[in-house]
């Protein structure tokens, strides 16, 4: 476990050296400016607009880290053979994958927390200085906290998929393309299935509907981690739903990282 911890620390430092955090701070400041300029254009539900902007910044920063930094660092290690240097020491390939994943998770967590903090501060400034700005209905800190945590968890799922594709293809561009594809499908599949099965908008054959249903067991349901509506409108959030969804996310990450480690273990590094 010490070795995993060491690799994750090195990855975290590498990410910071890569100026990832500077980029995050720029996104955070941009979102802060966006709050204070866009929100006064709305007269109602301004808290909802703030939640939309804040979470959009969080997701964009997280995706940028996952897709560019995460995939970049991993392919760089494989292509420049710096991974061989690590693996020549008493470090297993599974420990390497786990360490890299935890290190990059740390960077994403820092990014999410910085943006959330700046979002909260901007919200406070907005409520103090902008008369139109109001808190969302039934606002509670714990629902906001769960929302941020779920956002982080969905980014972790995307990162685990990015790891799997990077190890499978060993090509940064292909990996980025596939990861982004899975992200889009994961975000829209639930809606597509609902639309298709409702039959109001499009009608499909039973086989196609069955295939879509099968896909929902393979592709992660990222929509389940989107709690923006609950935060924006104070909708009730049940504890069983929260726990089951969190557990689903953790187990999904677990299985993908396990597969990544399996593939990486038997992969020949040229």
């Amino acid at each position: 476990m010490d070795r995993v911890w060491l690799i994750s620390l090195v990855t975290l430092k590498e990410g910071i050296r890569n100026r990832a955090l500077q980029g995050i701070l720029i996104i955070a400041l941009f979102s802060c400016v966006a709050y204070l300029t866009i929100i006064p254009m709305f007269a109602f539900d301004t808290g909802k607009v703030a939640v939309d902007l804040g979470f959009a910044s969080m997701t964009l920063a997280g995706l940028a880290i996952v897709i560019f930094l995460g995939i970049g660092l991993l392919t760089q290690d494989i292509h420049q053979r710096s991974v061989c240097m690590i693996l020549s020491r008493p470090v297993s390939r599974t420990q390497y994958v786990l360490g890299k994943f935890l290190g990059l998770s740390g960077i994403v967590l820092v990014a999410v927390l910085i943006i959330a903090l700046i979002g909260v501060l901007s919200g406070w400034a907005g409520i103090t200085f902008i008369s139109e700005m109001t808190l969302p209905r039934n606002f509670t800190w714990h629902i906001l906290g769960v929302g941020v945590l779920f956002n982080f968890l969905s980014l972790m799922i995307v990162m685990s998929i990015a790891f799997l594709f990077t190890v499978l293809t060993t090509n940064a561009y292909l990996s980025m393309l596939f990861t982004f594809g899975v992200y889009i499908i994961g975000q829209s599949l639930e809606t597509i299935v609902k639309v298709v099965t409702a039959g109001d908008f499009a009608r499909v054959g039973a086989l196609y509907a069955w295939m879509l249903n099968v896909l929902t067991w393979i592709v992660p349901n990222l929509r389940a981690f989107d709690l923006k509506v609950h935060i924006s409108y104070g909708l009730p959030l049940s504890v069983p739903y929260t726990l089951w969804t969190a557990a689903y996310g953790i187990f999904y990450i677990g299985i993908i990282i396990f597969l990544t480690a399996m593939v990486f273990r038997y992969q020949e590094i040229k």
Partner: protein, 279 residues
Amino acid sequence: MSGKRAIVSFFLLLFIISALLLTNSRVKHYRDNIPAENQRAEALMVSPTLLKVISGEFKGLWADYILLKASIFLGGYYESTPEDWDAIYLMFKQSLTLDPYFFQTCYYIQGLLSWREGMHEKAIELLKYPAQYRYWDWEPKFYIGFDYFYFLHDNLKGAHYMAEAAKLPDAPPIVATLGARLAQREGKTETAIGMLKLMYDRASDEKHKKLLEDRINAHIGILTLERAISAYKQTHGEIPDSLDTLIHKGLLKQMPENPFGDTYLYDAETGRVFFDEIR
């Protein structure tokens, strides 16, 4: 040589900056003077459902953007055409499909589609989304009820939505009283009484309670008179000439008390009873 290069670079930069400022000022000039007929509302011509599918987790933000786009056009003092309003209707529909909870869209629909453009049916169709999703909010249901009553003269549907709105926690008393009046106009006096009783049970202010009590009593009086008129019609095959006939014929022992006037008002042509002049 380096001095000469520096001078050339300086003048080149100066030229580029000047050219940029000049071209930008011309672009601004043309943009500011685009004829009104060229300023059209532009909706993305895709189905709202498809937009929801492709928006993913940014659907809330996308809804905000579409609404801002519509409001910028509407606030731009452009002359609008029926095609513009079709585009705006589509934008509102897209915005509501992406975020059916957003009250700002609901407010614009009522204020602009219904009041400004007279697209009442379309406004009602769209308002049904937030009315369903914003289950805690009386306003969308009130808007629908109001549109049915005021613009489409459908008191029955108006009363139905007013009654739904009146049941919600923060609904002001006017919703129930207006709903009761509409229901009574359509011969649904018992519904009107039920609606007022609901408000009475929830009211805490004594003054307000007294007002509601008077209204309930007025409607109970109307109900008594309506039942007597109905009995008279069954016996005589026609409605009575006046309310006093009901007493003369023994259908009523005495005239019910009207808390809002000396007596009840009666329309001898339709047989309808009112407790005040507002019909």
